[in-house]
């Protein structure tokens, strides 16, 4: 059973300059101040593992993937 996962950033919690763009460059870029720009919000199946690692690496729990 597979569900689509959607990448989300809690903008208030996010402190920028994080690891997310490094761990998931296919989906996350950083703006000129180091805050994430989501290039796409749907996580393709082949990137699930990377997305999970990026979520786990966020020090302030600002990055998450939601179902749907």
């Amino acid at each position: 059973m597979t569900h689509t996962r959607t990448l989300r950033v809690d903008r208030i919690a996010c402190t920028g300059r994080g690891l997310c763009a490094e761990l998931l460059p296919e989906l996350v870029d950083l703006d000129e101040w180091g805050y994430p720009v989501l290039l796409r919000t749907t996580v393709p199946a082949r990137l699930r593992g990377h997305a999970r690692r990026a979520v786990a690496a966020c020090p302030v729990l600002a990055l998450r993937t939601d179902r749907g």
Binding site: D10, R11, I12, A13, C14, T15, G16, D31, E32, W33, G34, Y35, V37
Partner: protein, 438 residues
């Protein structure tokens, strides 16, 4: 506040919320209000032999929120009524949009219509408390409203309890999550969703947040029904709406017009242009510029959407040809940047940066890369904050670049146009951060 001319002769179906004011020329106290409208039909809110339940009536009426977002009112009520726990109703009368005066005006001339609407909405969703939120610093408004509430209490009119609150007056304090956060003892700054207010808001209870004007319409739908409501407006967007017309018109003020009224007619009701117009700012500071050649367009979401514009909170600011649209936009952007709640990086840094770029453009001090940098920066504002504040600023900036494209070209190649050296025309509050969030 400017009072609109009361001698106007337009069709009666266009005047609803303000009809008492037009008839008498003075604010309605409870006696006036009850004489005109009778008591709020609270028992009928649940439906009976003679009336359909209020939520269904609102659905049939097609009433949408008049605070800017235009969300169907019935759907909001239904979501709150279906929530877990005893709901709470919050009246959003913050009107933080500097170019808007309509809620303030409505509450001044017909406070009991708004309160009736809040009480009826509370009854329909099963709420026991209504919180009325107004901006701090308008003490006359605060005392007038607390007197209105006292009148109702003395008359034992309402079963729900009504409470009045004065909140910090910042641009983003009118966000519904700001209200919820403040009412719970926190700061009047937006909260990132989830949970959504309608599920878990004030005191973790399902919370219905409605704009003051929306509730006044609701109070009339409860009395006269959906068929009556639909007599004004268009089939897709029925009813009337309050608009605040300012700028280069002869008689600026708050007016009530049917949705679908051409913008030029709205301006005429405000005395007409005082001088040739270049553009209008539509919707508010978070709205967009519309070139004057489009003034034949009706004031409705449907008609304005293809132009990337929207009625928003009913703001119309007429910009004369003698003014510089870029300079005015730069001033508004500086204000919006200063009013960021500073919680989200893209808003806290991106907004001032875009505002600075725009100021350089307006001053005719653009470097080679300015335009591409400005476009990139404004392009990165939408959808990257906990609230829609950066989205609004981006919309304004983008619409200015489109509407004043010739001026952009001139400012880039020859420096600022002569109009840019004249004193600014739009009243924009100083670009300073809010003093307090609590």
């Amino acid at each position: 506040m400017n009072a609109p001319a009361r001698t106007a002769t337009w069709h009666a179906t266009d005047t609803r919320l303000l009809s008492g004011w037009y008839a008498t020329g003075r604010p309605a106290d409870l006696t006036d209000h009850l004489r005109r409208y009778g008591t709020p039909p609270v028992t009928a809110a649940h439906g009976n032999r003679h009336a359909m339940p209020l939520i269904r009536a609102l659905e049939a009426a097609g009433l949408t929120g008049r605070g800017g977002a235009g969300f169907p009112t019935a759907r909001k009520l239904r979501a709150v009524a279906a929530g877990r726990g005893r709901p709470v109703v919050v009246v959003n009368a913050m009107e933080s949009e500097p170019a808007s005066r309509k809620d303030q005006f409505l509450l001044a001339v017909a406070p009991h219509l708004v309160l009736d609407g809040a009480v009826l909405a509370a009854e329909a969703v099963g709420a026991d408390t209504v919180h009325l939120c107004v901006p701090r610093g308008r003490s006359a408004q605060y005392w007038q409203l607390s007197r209105a509430m006292d009148e109702r209490r003395d008359a034992c009119l309402d079963e729900v309890s009504l409470r009045l609150h004065a909140l910090p007056h910042a641009y983003v304090s009118s966000e519904s999550t700001s209200l919820v956060r403040w009412l719970d003892g926190g700061e009047a700054r937006p909260l990132g969703a989830p949970p959504r207010s309608h599920e878990r808001g004030v005191g973790r209870r399902p919370t219905l947040v409605h704009n003051a004007e929306t509730l006044a319409h609701l109070a009339l739908v409860a009395r006269y029904g959906p068929g009556w409501f639909r007599q004004a407006g268009t089939a897709q967007e029925p009813g009337t709406t309050l608009v605040t017309v300012s700028g280069a018109v002869a008689a600026p003020g708050v007016l009530e017009v049917a949705l679908g009224t051409p913008l030029a007619t709205v301006l005429d009701r405000a005395g007409g242009p005082a001088e040739p117009l270049r553009a209008v700012l539509l919707g508010g500071f978070a709205g967009g510029w519309l070139p004057a050649r489009h003034l034949g367009i009706p004031l409705s979401r449907q008609a304005l959407a293809p132009l990337g514009a929207a009625p928003g909170a009913g703001v119309l600011v007429a910009l004369p040809r003698s003014a510089c649209g870029l300079t005015e936009t730069a001033r508004i952007l500086a204000y919006l940047a200063a009013q960021s709640a500073g919680q989200c990086g893209p808003c806290r840094f991106g907004l001032p940066a875009a505002a600075d770029d725009f100021a350089a453009l307006a001053a005719g001090q653009a470097d080679q890369l300015l335009l591409s940098r400005l476009r990139r920066r404004t392009g990165l504002l939408p959808d990257r904050g906990a609230c829609r504040h950066p989205d609004g600023a981006a919309r304004l900036a983008a619409s200015a670049l489109g509407c004043f494209a010739d001026d952009v070209e001139h400012h880039l190649t020859h420096g600022a146009c002569p109009a840019a050296h004249r004193p600014p025309r739009l009243p924009v509050p100083p670009a300073t951060p809010p003093e307090t969030w609590r």
